[in-house]
């Protein structure tokens, strides 16, 4: 049998090229990391029927079914149809699998569905964003986390969405037990203090984690009706310049966040270096090249931030610069002196 396969086409179809000749791996997209049991069973069936009976859990909350024979792609795609429909992922032609793979699975922590600290429904937002941006081949990473604990590690993504609640205080229900003060200090940033038996919140320091609300025994502290978000920009891992995302917005609304993400794809269309390897570049590196101001011209188009929203004046990213030095012995604190 002649083995002539367009691997680029396979990749776009969400199949990983394996190091084992003749094999591919099917990458199952699970927006927000929540999958129904029926789809999960189908993952198992595909692994048993076309793979070797194993399934990898991916770092971005998807599945990867390894050791599939390259010529079984069409059959696997047919089997994937049920999962694609159940997870509500946008598709081109039914039965032909996933239409793109560049934009990564949107990750979400458990969020308000389960977690006492979750400030919004992370899974729902992840699924909404997935619907908005997928299919797309641009390399974009997005993650949603329910509160400032950042269990979803969103600062390692291009867009890190962190839930916030604005604590509402009713002094008439406050008995001055100071549990909010204690827990804000121990579990959060220490934004609360006591003045004359009542609580004063440092509105600049407060990160909107909701710890005060959780520990208040009287409902003197409650959550704001509005769900707010902190947006972290352009974090990444990688070889050259891994770095945490930087604060861009706080107390932002969901609509603005979605618009900014959608607008970013226009920026990518305009500035992506087609000469880059496999025409793929992390957005962060493109912004490093064009400057943030240029990026924001695109990203903030038609975005109307709410009255509470604060935007960073300037953004400077840090992180490691392995393209400049990988020297450990000459770093400031020379533990290695002891050996010399």
């Amino acid at each position: 049998m002649i083995r002539d396969y367009d691997m680029k086409d396979y990749k776009r179809n969400a199949f990983r090229q394996s190091k084992h000749r003749g094999e591919i791996a099917s990458r199952v997209r699970v927006p927000g990391g929540r999958i129904d049991a029926e789809s999960l069973m189908r993952v198992v069936e595909i692994a048993e029927k076309y793979g070797d009976g194993t399934v990898n859990l991916t770092n971005r909350q998807g599945f990867e079914i390894p050791h599939i024979r390259i010529e079984d792609r069409d059959k696997v795609n047919e089997e994937l149809q049920l999962i694609i429909e159940n997870t509500g992922v946008n598709q081109g032609e039914p039965g032909e699998g996933y239409p793109a793979s560049g934009t990564r699975n949107v990750v979400a922590c458990p969020g308000q569905d389960l977690c006492p600290f979750g400030c919004y429904d992370t899974k729902e937002l992840a699924q909404k964003i997935d619907k908005m941006i997928f299919p797309n081949n641009h390399h974009v990473k997005i993650a949603c986390t329910g509160c400032s604990n950042d269990c979803a590690h969103v600062r390692l993504n291009d867009f890190g969405i962190i839930g916030q609640t604005e604590p509402q205080y009713d002094p008439n229900r406050c008995i001055g037990c100071e549990q909010c003060v204690k827990y804000c200090s121990k579990r959060s940033v220490g934004a609360l203090s006591v003045v004359n038996g009542k609580i004063v919140r440092d509105t600049n320091k407060c990160i909107g984690c909701g710890v005060c609300v959780n520990y208040c025994p009287t409902r003197a502290w409650t959550r704001s009706k509005e769900h707010y978000f902190r947006l972290e920009l352009m974090g990444r891992t990688g070889k050259k310049n891994p770095r945490l995302g930087e604060d861009f917005l706080k107390w932002a609304d969901e609509e603005s966040i979605c618009k900014i993400i959608k607008n970013t794809y226009d920026y990518l269309d305009a500035y992506l270096d087609m000469a880059a390897v496999e025409s793929k570049e992390h957005i962060g590196y493109i912004i490093d090249r064009t400057g943030v101001e240029e990026y924001l011209k695109y990203a903030m188009k038609d975005v109307e931030l709410g009255p509470k929203c604060e935007m960073a004046g300037r953004i400077y990213w840090g992180g490691k610069r392995y393209d400049q030095t990988n020297e450990l012995r000459k770093s400031m604190f020379r533990f290695s002196d002891r050996e010399e």
């Binding site: 308000q112 008439n172 008995i175 038996g197 009542k198 025994p217 009287t218 409902r219 009706k225 769900h227």
Partner: protein, 338 residues
């Protein structure tokens, strides 16, 4: 006199009542629960039946009208003291049988506890009237039957059972007959609904010997209890308070004295001058609370303080069950006897 009212008829009665009384009832507060987009049932002033939560147990009790969580008693400046104004219009409180029994305990503490009458309490108390909400079924964690508080025969204007979207009223106060008649309500045979059994049963020992104080059963709570005090603050019979003197920050000669709710489970309750603290361990606090509710109060007044509403069990973040503690005490007492 019994009536069956539709929603609009009942609203007409409430509207009539509102002319003379403020109406204070359990209200479902959307989004004001502890967790995101969760609700909580708290007492508040209402105007119509749609605002009243008839189908859930209230998370916090009616006691907040009588013993506000935070109440300014008086203002002071130099040689002058002025008592704080209170809303002294009459009010009608909607509450269930367990809470009617809790009212008796609060009165006991604030009005019939030795020679002193708490005037701040009395001023509010004198303006209150009550409407009994009938219980057509028992809620989670209720143990009113065991505590003998499942039924209330008198002390209220009328009772109301909310059944299938209509309101069955047993009118006790004859002065309201005209109001009900005017609403167009159909006369009927109605009595206040009450439950005769709960899923949770407790047995309070008749005599609790002091040896229970030294029992090992409290030790478990040293670790399990987080001393958040939510049990006390939702309890309809917990009546402890502490004082705050606040001197206004821009003029220290002017200020106010407040009393605020206090909890024997929360840090600071047993702290004395010099920093001594008598019940540091959370298990000791649990013992103190428990024995007050089912032993010490009875020694003084002849009946138990706990009314078995189970709100403490509902609210505990660590799933500590007070009803289970009562039964553990019972077992410990029995074990001691044998």
């Amino acid at each position: 006199m019994g009536y069956t009212l539709t929603r609009s008829e009942f609203d007409q009665v409430l509207e009539g009542l509102s002319e003379k009384y403020r109406l204070y009832a359990p209200v479902l507060k959307k989004g004001q629960g502890r967790f995101t987009d969760t609700d909580v049932v708290i007492y508040d002033f209402v105007y119509s039946s749609s605002e009243i939560e008839f189908e859930k147990k209230s998370d916090y009790s009616f006691k907040e009208i009588l013993t506000p969580l935070s109440q300014t008693l008086f203002f002071f400046t130099e040689n002058v003291i002025k008592e704080a104004d209170i809303d002294d219009s009459e009010a009608v409180v909607f509450l269930r049988s367990c809470d009617m029994h809790a009212l008796k305990r609060l009165d006991q503490i604030y009005l019939h506890n030795g020679s002193h009458v708490d005037s701040f309490y009395k001023k509010i108390r004198d303006k209150l009237h009550f409407v009994l909400i009938g219980c057509t079924s028992s809620f989670q964690d209720c143990f009113c039957v065991s505590m003998g508080t499942n039924r209330t025969e008198d002390g209220y204007l009328f009772s109301v059972n909310y059944v299938d979207g209509h309101y069955d009223v047993d009118l006790k106060d004859a002065s309201l007959e005209e109001l009900f008649a005017d609403s167009g309500a159909a006369a009927g045979d109605v009595t206040a609904a009450y439950v005769t059994e709960n899923e949770v049963e407790v047995h309070v020992p008749e005599e609790i010997p002091n040896s229970v104080i030294g029992s090992d059963l409290w030790k478990e709570y040293d670790k399990r209890c987080v001393a958040c005090g939510r049990c006390n603050l939702v309890c309809p019979t917990c009546s402890c308070f502490t004082m705050q003197d606040a001197y206004y920050t821009d003029n220290g000669k002017v200020g106010e004295r407040r009393r605020v709710g206090a909890s024997c489970m929360i840090d600071g309750y047993s702290t004395v001058a010099g920093g001594g603290e008598y019940r540091k361990k959370h298990g000791e606090r649990m013992r103190f609370k428990t024995l007050h509710k089912i032993s010490d109060f009875r020694k003084r007044y002849g009946y138990d303080m706990c009314v078995g509403c189970g709100r403490c069990d509902d609210v505990c973040p660590e799933y500590i069950s007070f009803s289970n503690i009562i039964n553990k005490v019972d077992a410990a007492v029995k074990e001691g006897e044998s």
